[in-house]
Amino acid sequence: METRRLILAWLILMALLASTVTLALLPIGPLKPWAAFMIALAKAGIIYWIFMEVRSENSLVRLAIGTSLVWVVLLAFVPFIPLL
């Protein structure tokens, strides 16, 4: 069961890789970087949830991961400050 779940997650990851490369080569205009970023987020989510077993971790581990994400989001605002 565990093996099947991991292989299924890998198949989805490979499909997402194929779609991100395909989208990068298609003329979809300004949506392109957003599509690539959203697919990367989906891939990271699958890796964390299935491969890194966050789905079965306790709330303390999830809090540690969530806190680090909050810090990255705060960091993300720094490049935009000169543009505001």
């Binding site: 991991l6 890998w10 990068a24 970087p33 890796i47 299935i50 306790n58 490049p79």
Partner: protein, 208 residues
């Protein structure tokens, strides 16, 4: 058959000890996330401020090697993930085989990266090369810094897989302890994979 890890002070139970091990690993990975997050955001800022030059420089990178390397790392992560339940169930031969496969694919990633660096150098894709504008130089500097730092992490991961593979056979009496080590090294490897999942589109997929 699964086996329990040895209980060490100051923990009052094995579950508490296992939770502390995993939490510590995730906190370490959070520091790594800040490191690579800063680099990724520098790449993003460069793209936002100079979109045309950024896309022109990015289009010169080898998309085929970049894509192949992403596939290698994702597959390598699968094998690392498969090693964890094998270690927990005490199936050490299977665990060693999975770790070996993950390490070999990681090695394949480094070989392809080396070939790509060589091709880049031959084509003059180096910061401050003749005829290169400032943004292209900045892009290439960010490319080399982020991918070399990532490659260093891949190298450390392969070293950890090698260490686990060599020591697992001698630790059959402490299977539970070995299972925790396998799980934590796998967590590190998956994180290295996640970093590449973001570096790949940020560096290679900026196309017009």
């Amino acid at each position: 058959m699964s086996a329990l890890p040895s209980l060490n002070p100051p923990f009052s139970g094995r579950q508490q000890q296992r939770d502390a091990d995993t939490l510590a690993m995730h906190i370490f990975l959070a520091t790594e996330m800040m490191l690579f997050g800063g680099l990724l955001l520098a790449i993003l800022a460069c793209r936002l401020l100079h979109p045309q030059s950024f896309i022109a420089a990015s289009s010169r990178l080898d998309l085929v090697i970049g894509t192949a390397n992403t596939g290698l790392l994702l597959t390598s992560s699968l094998f690392a993930a498969l090693a964890v339940p094998a270690a927990r169930d005490g199936k050490f031969r299977r665990c060693v085989a999975m770790l070996g496969a993950a390490a070999l694919l990681g090695l394949g990633f480094l070989v392809l990266k080396g070939i790509e660096y060589h091709d880049d150098a031959v084509q003059g894709l180096l910061p401050r090369s003749a005829g290169m504008d400032g943004v292209a130089s900045l892009f290439l500097s960010l490319y080399y810094i982020s991918t070399a730092l990532h490659a260093l992490h891949v190298t450390i991961g392969i070293g950890l897989f090698g260490w686990l593979t060599l020591t697992l056979g001698r630790q059959l009496s402490k299977r539970g302890d070995a299972a925790i080590r396998v799980a934590n090294v796998a967590l590190y490897w998956h994180f290295v994979d996640v970093v590449w999942v973001f570096l790949f589109p940020a560096l290679y997929l900026a196309r017009s």
